[in-house]
Each structure stands twice: as C-alpha cells, then as structure tokens.
C-alpha cells in the first residue's frame, strides 16, 4: 500500500500551522496612533472583557476560599486562612477518591464504547451514495443532540423504566420485567447508551467533514493496487481521519474528569451515590447542599488543575507524535 505513507505526508503538510502574519505594517507604528486607529475594535471587546472579568476571573480569584475556613455569614473578608487544611481533608476523604474512581471508570468506559461509534457511523454514512438519502439521515441523527438531558433521561425512563415500553412488552409476553433505570450494576451501560443516543449522530459531523476532504484519487490508486472495500477503509479512510481522531482524543482526555454532569445529577437519586457520584456531583453536594464551601472549592480546584495539566500534557504528547494537537505553537 503505497498510498498510505503518501497520504500521511500530504496530511502533515496540510496540518502544518499556517504562519501568522506578524509583519503587518501597522505594528511598527507608535502605540498612540495605533490606539487612535484601533480603539473601535477595543471598544467592541469591552462587553466580553466585563463578562469574563465578572463571571470567569472573579470566580477564579474566589478560589482563594479553598485556603480559608469560609463561612457565608462573615464573607471572604471575615474568614480565616487555614493553609492547606481543606486540601488535606479532601485527599484524606474516601468519598472523594470514590468519586474520582467513578469518574475515571465512566470516562474509560465511554472512551471504548462511545468514542468509536461516531467514526463507524460516519464511515457507514459516507458510503451512502445518494445525496438526498445521506442528508436526510444526517438531519435525523443530528437531532437528539439538541434535546436537553432532562428530555433524554425522561424518554429513557419512559422506555426502559419500571413502567416503560420495554417492560410492558416483557410482561405481556409473561417474562420478568427488568429494572434498568435504578440498577447501579448496569448504570455504566445506561448512561453510555444515553450518550450514544444523544450525541453519536452529532459526533459524526467532524468525521464527515474530514471524509469529504479525502482525495478520491487515493481510493482509486488503492483500488488499482487491488485493495478491496475494507482495505481501502483501513489504508485510506482511517489515516485520513487520524488527525481528527487524535484531536478529539486529546480533548476527551483533557475532559477526563468531566463526565456529563447534568446527565448524572438527574439520575443520581435513582441509582444512588455509589454508582453515580462523580467529581462534579461530589463538589455540588459537599458545597451547595451540605454547605462545606471551602472543602468543595478545594475539591473543585484540584479537579480544575488536574484537568488543565491533562490537556497540556495530552497536547504535548500529540506534538511529540507529530500531530497538530489542539493549539499550534
């Protein structure tokens, strides 16, 4: 298969970062004259700066309560600093580690059983030749992505729940009903199938876009060389998707500690904290529900920091392997 390395080289060239134009003549002019010229652009950025400052950066600074014994009655200014005490409590808490392990198990499970689904679906759909059929199927399978988690979980409950469609059918055949919505043992399967139903179709969009840019002559060359349909998928299609797959893997890895918060909090009551407690729900319950603000902020900060390290690390690894990664610098 000579097509594959060629394709890889071509892609590498295509993925190489476009050099940013830094030599605009405007840059050399004195700041005052640039200010006179560019102030409308700065003015346009004012709303976003204000919103980010208030709702992103002020809370980032607010994380200082993780080093305090914060009480809402005395406020930040009245609360005492306690050093690393809250972090020590978090790290010593088995419930925290339980949430961490649940989170990682869910991430791992979904990496294996969700991640490949959109790729397979995109390849399948891409092989549909009639344009109208293809776009009709696309429109239909994208749709669930735009429904809220409340709707998705409601629909699953009505279909798989104790009084749901599936159990009606089983009972009418004299079989025993299965309880899926409240069973901790099958919870992983349940939330992953919900995710597949909601987002697998939408997940195709990136892969379809990448597939549409594959040079047809590569398929032709592979076919002339005697590659059948499956070998063409293996040697042409999948290599073409590689940068996108790696990019999405990196993003997923950076989000390893974030697993469908809304989806889980909706179902935590039904299956219990044993299976459904993840880091985000742990933070929510310890802070907002039980009022241990500083403790929850410390747990949240640990999560945020580890996530940041994960993204940067994953991106670094991608660079080492010669892929474009998330940001290119």
């Amino acid at each position: 298969m000579t097509a594959a390395p060629q394709a890889a080289r071509r892609r590498e060239r295509a993925a190489a970062p476009a050099p940013e134009v830094r030599t605009a003549p405007r840059r050399k002019r004195p700041s005052l004259s640039r200010l006179r010229e560019d102030y409308p652009l700065l003015l346009m950025c004012a709303p976003v700066i204000i919103l980010l400052a208030v709702f992103m950066y002020a809370p980032m600074l607010g994380n200082v309560i993780a080093w305090m014994d914060y009480s809402p009655y005395v406020g930040i200014l009245g609360s005492d600093f306690v050093g690393w005490w809250n972090f020590q409590r978090v790290v010593a808490d088995p419930r925290f580690w339980h949430a961490v392990s649940n989170t990682l198990i869910i991430t791992g499970f979904q990496l294996v059983f969700f991640f490949p689904v959109p790729i397979a679906m995109a390849i399948l759909l891409n092989s549909v030749l009639t344009r109208r059929v293809r776009t009709a199927i696309q429109s239909i399978v994208y749709l669930p992505h735009f429904f809220s988690w409340v709707i998705v979980v409601s629909i699953f409950q009505q279909i798989l729940g104790g009084a749901g469609l599936v159990n009606q059918f089983l009972r009418s055949r004299g079989l025993e009903a299965v309880e899926v919505m409240t069973n901790p043992d099958t919870f992983l399967l349940l939330i992953t199938s919900q995710q597949v139903w909601k987002d697998a179709g939408w997940g195709m969009i990136v892969f379809l876009a990448a597939l549409s840019t594959v040079d047809r002559s590569q398929y032709e060359a592979a076919a002339v060389d005697g590659a059948g349909a499956w070998r063409r998928i293996w040697h042409v299609t999948l290599p073409a998707l590689r940068p996108v797959i790696i990019l999405l893997l990196i993003l997923r890895l950076g989000d390893a500690l974030t697993v469908g918060f809304e989806q889980l909090i909706l179902q935590r009551d039904a299956v219990g904290a044993g299976a459904a407690e993840v880091l985000d729900t742990f933070v929510y319950y310890s802070g907002i529900v039980y009022g241990d603000w500083s403790y929850a902020a410390a747990a949240g900060l640990i999560k945020g920091t580890v996530s940041l390290i994960l993204v940067l690390g994953a991106n670094k690894i991608a660079h080492v392997f010669g892929e474009a990664g998330v940001y290119q610098r």
Binding site: M44, L52, W149, I151, Q157, W293, A296, A297
Partner: protein, 326 residues
C-alpha cells in the same frame, strides 16, 4: 454490454466475484466511482438494515412520546403505558396544561431567558469576534488569550455560585443568562469565519473612510448569515436546555424554567403545584397523567424542532470545520 465497460474497467476484481455480475442485473449508482465494485446483496442488505435501525432508534422514541401525549387515558391504559400505535386521540393533555398555568408560566420563563440570552450572547460574540479578527490590531492578543484560558480552566462551581450570589442574582432570571453568556468556543467559530472574509473588501472600505462599526454592520454581517444562524442556534439551544443553573440559582418555583418543571414533573414524579391534575385522584396507576407528562416533554422539544430545519443546512457549509481547527 460494451457501453458500460468504460465505467467498470478501472475496477479491481473483487475477491467476492461481484465484478462478474452483468450490468443488466443491477443498475450502477450514477455517483459510484468507477473503481468501486457494486456491493453484493448481503453487503447491501446489511448496510440498509444498519442505517434503518439507526434512524428508527432516533425516531421511534420521539414518535411514541408525541403519540402518547395526544392519546386518551383509555388508549394509554389499553397500551399499558406509552402508545406506539395511535388509537383514540385528544388534545386534552395540552388543554389541561394550559389551564393549569404552571407549565405555561415556565414556558414564559424559558422563552424570556432564551430570547434575551441568545440576543445578548450573539451581540457579544459578534462584537468580540470582529474586534479580534484583524491581525495585528492593538491589544487583540491579550484579549484573545483571556478568552482562550476559559476553555482550558474553569473557575469552578462553588466560587461562581458565590459571585452570582454576591451580586444579588439569586432568584433573578439574569442568573440564568449572564454567567453563561460568553462561550469562547462559539466566539472562536465566528472569529474564524470573519477572518476568512476577503481582506481586500474590508481594506478598501477602510481606505474609503468607513468606520469599523460600519464595516461590521454593512459588509461583514451580511456575509455572515450562515455562521450567525449556527452560533445563534447553539446559544439558543443551550439557554433553552439549561436546567442546572436554575437548580443552583432559582429557589422560587414560580420562576422555574420549563426544563426544571419537566424534571420535577416527569423524572421525580411530583405533581406541579397549581395544576388541575392530581395523580392520586385518577385511576390507572402508573399510567395516570402520562399524557400530560409526555405533553410537557413535547413542549420542551417543540422550539428545537421548529428552529432546527432552518439552521441545519448550514452545518455542512464549512462553518463547523473551521470551528474544530480553530
């Protein structure tokens, strides 16, 4: 026979022997590339079945929800729950909802939050995206950096809650809008689109003395309808679907958005206070009120279903691709 030979000549002889099939037996698809063998009946059936199942997996649940919401209690009892095959139909569930008032008030809250939030977010996104779109403009790098950081490091739920509470926004609908008004991802999609607009047009307008505001309003925006539609849909759907912000910030159930009413009504099985419907007063056991529950689900889906067809044709138009690379 000879007329079709050129179309198939480049084809490799497949191991399955499908190549030997005469052209009269199966018509080639006009879009099928010449090197590709016509798939055999087994492959074709497998593919059709897989695609049909995928489509049905999406459509059947939606269908049964809609049908159940339109069914009479008798029809629901006959089916023992969700109705797949429409029997006796009625709009009673919807008229009950409207008479009850709670759901309509929640729809009002959701419509307000979605409309105001989307307008605000879009305006901020357009201004920011244009403000950051000219290479080398003063100060655009630090602002861009400030925006990018939010994609990699979130402030966290607890401090954000404390800030929102500190601003006195608890039980205010603005708490459902302002904290999520900026999406770095959406702004980058838009910026990417703006940066691909031909610089020549913009520069000549600038030389002719047009202000940046005028360039944005009269040149950039008319060229950017597709990206505005897509980003507007993303924002609109996010506002319409959000429920957790309301769990955090809205204690007063009179100000609950529809998703929260849906949760307490359908998932937690609680009767929404103020509705005429009381589950205990009806017989039918677990199926009582199912039509009303499903009608609320339908109400929560309808705005998405209305807007979606108009926007989804833009998905493939290069808007998305740029977003991923950006």
């Amino acid at each position: 026979m000879t007329t079709t030979v050129p179309r198939t000549s480049a084809r490799a002889s497949g191991p399955g022997g499908a190549a030997a099939r005469g052209p009269g037996r199966r018509r080639r698809h006009p879009d099928r590339p010449p090197y590709e063998a016509e798939p055999g009946p087994v492959a074709k059936t497998a593919k059709t079945t897989a695609l049909t199942l995928i489509v049905l997996a999406v459509l059947v649940p939606l269908w049964t929800v809609v049908v159940t919401s339109l069914s009479t209690q008798a029809a629901i009892n006959d089916a023992g729950g969700l109705v797949l095959v429409p029997g006796e139909l009625t709009f009673k569930a919807y008229t009950d909802i409207i008479a009850g008032g709670v759901v309509t008030r929640a729809v009002g809250v959701s419509v307000f939050v979605t409309a105001v939030g989307t307008a605000l977010s879009l305006a901020v996104a357009i201004l920011t995206a244009y403000g950051l779109s000219r290479p080398g403009s003063l100060g655009h790098r630090p602002i861009l950096f400030m925006l990018l950081i939010t994609m990699f490091f979130g402030a966290g739920m607890i401090p954000t809650y404390l800030v929102v509470a500190g601003l006195g926004l608890i039980d205010s609908l603005w708490a459902l809008i302002l904290p999520t008004a900026v999406s770095a991802f959406n702004i980058l999609i838009m910026r990417n689109f703006f940066m691909n607009i031909d610089r020549g047009i913009l520069d000549s307008a600038r030389i002719d003395g047009a202000s940046e505001w005028r360039i944005l309003g009269q040149i950039v925006l008319p060229l950017s309808k597709a990206v505005i539609a897509v980003v507007g849909l993303f924002y609109g759907v996010a506002y319409w679907n959000a429920f957790f912000n309301a769990v955090l910030y809205i204690n007063d159930s009179a100000k609950w958005p529809l998703q929260l009413v849906l949760r307490s009504y359908v998932l937690q099985g609680q009767a929404v206070p103020g509705t005429t419907f009381d589950p205990s007063s009806l017989d039918g056991g677990q199926t009582a009120g199912l039509a009303i529950q499903m009608a609320v689900v339908v109400l929560a889906m309808v705005p998405v279903l209305i807007v979606y067809p108009f926007v989804q044709r833009h998905f493939s138009s290069g808007v998305m691709i740029g977003a991923i690379k950006g």
